[in-house]
Structure formats: structure tokens, C-alpha cells
């Protein structure tokens, strides 16, 4: 009787694991199949090199570059905001803050990532953009600067929290050794602890970038929906994710080329984030056992 019970539990656990894997494979398959059909109608060279993305107009162009540039631009702005702030927070929490402060502030910071992104989107559009318009006169109502900035705030906890874990995991013996030789706290933090935790910090940055690239609501709301190949942060752009939202909501006919563009865009996004996640996995694997 007991054996049967054990068996049932074991099999049901295995089933849940298999279902998850099956769903993932299913998603990738659907993406791939639809994308293959898309590329049978549109040349992959055009897709990668054309500088216009106008599948919904009469003069159709299927160049992913404008969407890609929108995605990379907003993500770059986001990471420029999140990296210095997130890293400073993590170093402060791990090396300077009293234990009790660290214990309260860390979960509070993580709340930043728990705010619904639609809220961030409207915050960017209604609060941040008007403020920025006071400073930068020519700023458009929809722009990548405001969206990227707010997205940066959203991903701060990815960097601060994971980096802090990495810094905190550095053995105290290394800090003591450094102090024992007459190093100050600052020297110890930057010359011993941060280098020793570098793999974890890099992983946190990659995950944050990956999150920014995949972020949808903020950019769909605040960055505009105009595919444009530009590095100018003051004009409206469209990201890959925002385009997918736009088409999914519209009245594009199922099975048409226009409809399949979302899978082509989707697989581009998938490849990007997949590469980043693999990279972070590799880094973690390679360096994590250093102190064990």
C-alpha cells in the first residue's frame, strides 16, 4: 500500500515536470512553424537588412531592424539607469548597511519588480514624460527616453537583489584578510568583494537586460508605436514586444503574412533572450563553485 502511494507521488511529480517541458517545447514549435511559413513568403535577407517595417501598410516592408533598434534603445536606456543605481544599492546593503536595515530594505526593493507593468507604463506616459518635456523641449509625447527610464526603475531590483546575494556570498575571511592588511572598507568592497562576486554581478546584469528586452506594457504605452530605425531617444519608436501587442489587438486576418509577422518578431525576441539566458547560465556554472 505504502509502495503504491510512493509510486503515485513520484509519477505525479514527474508528470508535472514533463508537462512544463512539453508546454515550452510546444511554444517553441508553434513559433518555429509559423516563422518558417513567414520566411517562405518573405526573404530572410530582407527581414534582416530592410530598414523599414511596414507590414500593415500597402507598401509592405518586412525589415526587423527598426523594431530591433527600438528594443535595444529602450533596453539600453533602462540598463543605464538600473546598473549604477542597482549596483550602488547592492554594495551598500551588503558591505555597509546594518543587518536589520538590509533585512527590511531588500524585500521592499523587490516590491519594485512586483508593481504591475501597466502601472509603470502610465507612470511613464503621464508623469515622467511631462517632467522630461520641461527639461528637453523637443521631447515627443511618446518616446524611448521616458519608457526606458521607467523600465530601468523596474529592473533595479533584478540587479540590486541578485548582486547583493553574490556580494553577500563572498566569504567573510576575504574581507578580514583585506582589513587585516590595512585596507579601508571602500578598498575592500571594490578591490576584493566586487571582483570576487563579479560572476554573480554579471549574471544579474544579463538577467536585467533580458527582462528589459522582453518587457511589453511599458514600451507599448509610453514609447509609441512607430517603427523607426533611430538612436534618438526623444522620438516615438516601437519595440518588438509592442509590435506584437499592436498586431494581436488589431483586425489582422489569421493565417495572413501580416499575421505571421508576429511570429517572426516573436522568434527574434526568443533568440535574443535565449542567448542572454544561456550566457548567464554559462557564467554561473563556470564560476559558482569557486568557494566550495
Amino acid at each position: 500500500m505504502r509502495k503504491i502511494k510512493e509510486l503515485v507521488i513520484e509519477k505525479s511529480l514527474l508528470t508535472s515536470a514533463l508537462i512544463t517541458i512539453a508546454i515550452t517545447i510546444g511554444i517553441v514549435l508553434v513559433l518555429a512553424i509559423e516563422a518558417v511559413q513567414f520566411f517562405s513568403e518573405v526573404s530572410i535577407i530582407d527581414f534582416l537588412t530592410d530598414t523599414q517595417w511596414t507590414p500593415l501598410f500597402t507598401d509592405k516592408h518586412y525589415g526587423i531592424l527598426p523594431l530591433l533598434s527600438g528594443t535595444l534603445l529602450t533596453s539600453f536606456i533602462a540598463i543605464s539607469v538600473a546598473l549604477p543605481i542597482g549596483l550602488s544599492i547592492s554594495i551598500y546593503l551588503s558591505e555597509y548597511a546594518p543587518k536589520s536595515f538590509r533585512k527590511t530594505v531588500k524585500p521592499l526593493l523587490e516590491l519594485l519588480a512586483a508593481v504591475p507593468t501597466v502601472v509603470y507604463g502610465f507612470f511613464a506616459l503621464i508623469v515622467v514624460t511631462p517632467i522630461l518635456q520641461q527639461i528637453i523641449p523637443g521631447l515627443s509625447g511618446f518616446n524611448s527616453l521616458s519608457a526606458g527610464f521607467v523600465m530601468g526603475i523596474m529592473i533595479i531590483p533584478y540587479i540590486s537583489s541578485i548582486s547583493e546575494d553574490a556580494l553577500h556570498a563572498v566569504p567573510n575571511a576575504l574581507r578580514e584578510a583585506s582589513f587585516g592588511m590595512g585596507a579601508t572598507k571602500l578598498q575592500t568592497a571594490f578591490k576584493v568583494v566586487v571582483p570576487a562576486a563579479s560572476s554573480g554581478i554579471i549574471v544579474s546584469i544579463i538577467l536585467a537586460i533580458s527582462r528589459a528586452i522582453g518587457e511589453t506594457m511599458i514600451v507599448a504605452i509610453a514609447a509609441g508605436q512607430q517603427p523607426r530605425l533611430t538612436l534618438d531617444p526623444t522620438v516615438p519608436v516601437e519595440t518588438i514586444t509592442a509590435y506584437i501587442v499592436q498586431v494581436s489587438l488589431g483586425d489582422v486576418e489569421h493565417g495572413s503574412v501580416e499575421y505571421r509577422t508576429i511570429f517572426a518578431a516573436g522568434i527574434t525576441l526568443f533568440v535574443l533572450t535565449f542567448l542572454l539566458n544561456t550566457l548567464s547560465y554559462r557564467i554561473r556554472k563556470k564560476y559558482q563553485e569557486r568557494y566550495e
Binding site: 575571511a173 584578510a177 583585506s178 592588511m181 590595512g182 579601508t184 578591490k191 576584493v192
Partner: protein, 277 residues
């Protein structure tokens, strides 16, 4: 076997390069401890200790676990300052200056008083950078000076011949015994006059232990060494003076020979003969 643990005397007495200060020419480091008491929150870890330590001697601190000997050792370079709830009373004077005065520059103090820890703790940096670290944080940028000092210190700990061909290798790739000698070299690079050692051989195999002991014996000529140890034989082999601690008190402090052959207190005798602890 005997040959393997031999440390070349010449490497230690050879001419000191560049702007190195021969530690033996430095001011002698006399340590005076006056009525020192330590608390961790409510726990009274050290209950009033007086002690004088002579320059260029090896002093061993012995006693059962929890007797306060490590806490006491870490008072000399103010390493307990980082422990939450730490509180201290009394005076510790090094060369006549109370190191617990408000104005004391703790970083400067620690350059004068080096420390070697229980578990070898090299930085995850190259062998070269491990030894150079102490110089670099002092703002020394003269590459030639740094290089000379690194080589000199590695020779002093008899590690040079073993690592001279791969100074770029990570310090953590060395064996435990080599790591500990690297940590000692790293400490010497800062040119302290006192070296504190907190059970430096407890994580090492017997051969590595013998090498480190030999090294301590040689270093005594130039440095004042205080060593915490759980190993009675070690204390009797390498130290000139021995202090026996029990429950936060200094029970007996005398010449090592006297402590081990003719202790005054019954408690000391019980401990060193293995009847308790």
C-alpha cells in the same frame, strides 16, 4: 622528509631590495595590556586581563575552545570592531600608544600589525596580486618596487621556488599549505612589526604544518609573533612564552619551558597534560 621542511636561512637574511625597511631596524614593538574586558552584548568574553609582551618573541595563547584567546588576539589589530555587540574596556598599548584611543587610525594600525587566519584565505587573484595587494592599497604604483617586494616576500616564506614559474596562477589553485604561506607572504609585504596568527596550521597537514612552524621560528628574529594554537606540542615547539586562558581569564603566563615543565597553577597542569579541555 627532513630536507623538504628545511627553510633556507639565506633567503631571509639576504640583502633587502629597494626601499624595503628591514623589520629588525624598526621600532621594537612592546605590547602592554591593562585590565582589558570584553563583552559581546551581555556575554562577558574577557574578564580583566593584564599582560606584557616582549618584542621579537613568539608568544603562544593556549586554552580550551571558547576561553577567549581568539577574541583577545583580535583585540591587537582591532579586528573585533566589526562584530555587532562588541564592547571593550581597558587599555592596550603598543609602543606606548593606546590603540583604543578615539583618534587612532585603524588602517595605519593594521599595517603595523599583520594577521594570519585559521583557514588559508587567499584572494581570488593571482599569486602575484595576492602579495601585491597590500602595497597597491597603500597607493604604491612603482612596478619595480612592487615586483621586488613580492619576490622578496615569497622568498621569505620559502614559496618562491615552488611558484616562480606561475605567478599568474590563481592563489586559490595552490595547496592548503602553500596557500597559508602565501597568506603569510601577503602579510609580510605590508611590513608589519607584529604578526598575529590565529591557529594558522589547524587546517594544514603535518608536513605543511612543519613548514609553517619552521617559518615562524625564523620570522621571530624580525617580528613579534603572537600565535593562538590548540596544539600543545606546537606551543612548546615554537614559542618563547605561553599564556593559558580559561573562561575569559588569563590563568597563567610565563616562559614556555616553565609552563610545560613546572606550571604554577593546577588548572594549567590539568590542561597541558590533557586531563581536560
Amino acid at each position: 622528509m627532513a630536507k623538504e621542511i628545511e627553510i633556507n636561512m639565506e633567503t631571509i637574511t639576504e640583502q633587502i631590495p629597494g626601499k624595503l625597511i628591514d623589520p629588525s631596524l624598526k621600532k621594537k614593538s612592546k605590547i602592554e595590556v591593562k585590565d582589558v574586558k570584553v563583552w559581546y552584548d551581555d556575554f562577558n568574553a574577557i574578564k580583566g586581563i593584564d599582560m606584557n609582551i616582549k618584542p621579537n618573541t613568539v608568544t603562544a595563547f593556549i586554552g580550551p575552545s571558547g576561553c577567549g584567546k581568539s577574541t583577545f588576539l583580535r583585540l591587537f589589530n582591532r579586528m573585533n570592531d566589526y562584530i555587532e555587540g562588541f564592547r571593550m574596556e581597558g587599555k592596550i598599548k603598543i609602543n606606548g600608544d593606546n590603540i583604543y584611543k578615539k583618534k587612532v587610525n585603524v588602517e595605519e594600525l593594521r599595517k603595523e600589525i599583520g594577521m594570519v587566519f585559521q583557514k588559508p584565505n587567499p584572494f581570488p587573484k593571482s599569486i602575484f596580486d595576492n602579495v601585491a595587494y597590500g602595497l597597491k592599497i597603500q597607493g604604491i604604483t612603482d612596478k619595480q618596487l612592487i615586483e621586488e617586494r613580492v619576490i622578496y616576500c615569497l622568498k621569505q616564506v620559502a614559496l618562491w621556488d615552488e611558484v616562480k614559474d606561475d605567478l599568474k596562477k590563481s592563489g586559490m589553485a595552490l595547496s592548503g599549505g602553500q596557500q597559508q604561506r602565501l597568506c603569510i607572504a601577503r602579510t609580510l609585504a605590508v611590513q608589519p612589526s607584529i604578526i598575529l596568527m590565529d591557529e594558522p596550521t589547524s587546517a594544514l597537514d603535518p608536513i605543511s604544518t612543519a613548514k609553517v612552524e619552521e617559518l615562524i621560528f625564523k620570522l621571530k628574529e624580525k617580528y613579534t609573533i603572537i600565535i593562538v594554537t590548540h596544539n600543545m606540542q606546537q606551543a612548546s615547539r615554537i614559542s618563547d612564552y605561553t599564556a593559558f586562558f580559561y573562561l575569559g581569564e588569563l590563568i597563567e603566563y610565563n616562559k614556555t619551558k616553565t609552563i610545560f615543565t613546572n606550571p604554577e597553577k593546577q588548572q594549567t597542569e590539568n590542561y597541558i597534560t590533557g586531563r581536560f579541555g
